[in-house]
Amino acid sequence: MIEAENLSRRYGGMLAVDALNLCVRAGEVVGLLGPNGAGKTTSLRMLAGFLAPSGGRARIGGHDVERQPHAARCALGYLPEGAPSYGEMSVLGFLLFVARVRRLSGERRRSRLDAVIQQLELDDVLALPIETLSKGYRRRVGLAQAILHDPPALILDEPTDGLDPNQKRAARALIRGLARDRAILISTHLLEEVPTVCSRVAVIARGRLLADATPAELEQRSRYHGAVSFSARGAGPARAAISLLPGVDTVEVDPLNGRVTVFPKPGRPILAEVQGILAAQRVEVSEFALERGRLDDVFRSLTADPAEAA
């Protein structure tokens, strides 16, 4: 439903987006994840038809964004970066304007307006000028505008930015609910957002796509995947024994809180063995955990600038 094919964009001599290939199908929420300046917003702007690509193609619902701009725009709901809206208009006035431009009329306009106002809890602010609203409300007005015509494809640039934790949770639940029958592409730099919202993650940095995988697959790439960590008093001798286990790669101790993390060799389960040693040596364990993998760790290793790392 949302497709990028070798999508590229140049600003002067700088390549902001370099041959991006991405496909979001109905029922999926794909998170475009990357550090600031990675090319997320530029990519989304090309897909939404605001920026003309320097090369490649963007398609929304099968319609080429450049050649069939009208059909592509009708199939898309778009929340631009920063959720811009006309400050002097009231919330209702603004939504009515979007409804008119989108050619919603009569009963359908009324029912869609009611639906988004209820979904985004805008009842209390309908008559207020948008410029007087808090950042969270403005973001919700932007989301309401994007889903007003019930589009089959949605592109949301940082949809939860500026929301408080409760509103973030509500917005994520809304996005997951919307995903049932449509294609959604969101950009974010919040790692916590990925496992809670996205069914797939596309990691980009310096304009290039570095990974396209499910959150679980990404977690497996972490060196923390399958690692065992515990806090215990007087674990010195046990630590030595654990480091000799055949499946164990390294053992690290956090210098701040003394927490021990045992890293396995790739693909070797070590949970039972570590537990065995701790029990045999009667170590008093206050906390014990099997790590699933850490996204921040994967994110860092994927997006680290090779020049800086060297």
């Binding site: 725009r73 811009p84 006309y86 304007f97 008119r100």
Partner: protein
């Protein structure tokens, strides 16, 4: 094209909720009155017509119309709503034309509010009302041409001040194009054909032809073409400068 009325309606509402509209109307009417009665010697001329009013009107428009046009696109660019508007199913041409029409309707409203002048001359004597109507049409066309320049140039920048100044300069060029001063300056060194062509772009000579009471197809076509060309240029500017 059916998104155009939505754009028009929004823009017109945007004028009416900001103080700009009321400031514009008050200043326009005050200056129009002052020019007509003091500079134009409305009473002492002893003629029942609106010639004093219509002869100063182009200069009043030259000063005030760019102020109406400057926000049309520059404000969208500055506040980021340009990205919203251009990704809605509104063609660029329709958005440009909708904005222009809204501003033009607003200026038409200000112009219509000068009706007490018309009532006055009809009370004082028996003016040629057909000629007055033609002159009003000419004024509206002239204002439309200036407005189209401003709308087009507003698309090039995110600064309303830059849009305003550019429009003042270009508008002044069009107003002065047929003036004796300018023609006298260029006739010496430009080939006669070019100087004549330049004079042909004069807003004043086309406007005065209509203001005399002759709604000539040539003059009307000149203004309509000017409007279309500048709005078209604005659409091109929108596409060229789209860097977000």
């Amino acid at each position: 094209m059916s998104a155009l009325p939505a754009v028009l309606r929004r823009e017109l509402a945007a004028y009416l909720v900001t103080p700009v509209a009321y400031v514009f109307i008050v200043i326009f009417l005050a200056l129009a009155g002052a020019f007509t009665f003091y500079l134009g010697d409305f009473y002492s001329r002893g003629q029942a017509d609106l010639a004093p009013f219509f002869s100063y009107l182009p200069w009043l428009f030259q000063v005030l119309v760019p102020a109406v046009a400057m926000r049309l696109w520059a404000e969208e660019r500055r506040s980021g709503t340009l990205e919203l508007l251009l990704t809605l199913p509104v063609g660029r041409g329709a958005a440009m034309f909708g904005k222009f029409l809204a501003a033009w309707a607003f200026i038409a409203l200000a112009l219509a509010l000068t009706f007490p002048l018309w009532l006055t001359v009809n009370y004082l004597g028996h003016p040629d009302n057909g000629a007055i109507l033609a002159a009003y049409c000419g004024s509206l066309l002239l204002a439309g041409a200036l407005l189209a320049i401003g709308t087009g140039l507003s698309a090039a920048t995110r600064s309303q001040v830059v849009a305003f100044i550019l429009t003042e300069v270009v508008g002044l060029g069009y107003l002065l194009a047929g003036h004796r001063l300018v023609l006298g300056l260029v006739q010496g060194w430009l080939p006669p054909g070019v100087a004549d062509a330049l004079a042909g772009f004069s807003f004043i000579s086309h406007y005065e032809a209509i203001a005399r009471g002759v709604l000539n197809a040539d003059d009307v076509a000149f203004f309509v073409l000017t409007i279309v060309c500048w709005l078209g240029a604005g659409v091109l500017l929108l596409e060229l400068t789209e860097t977000g």
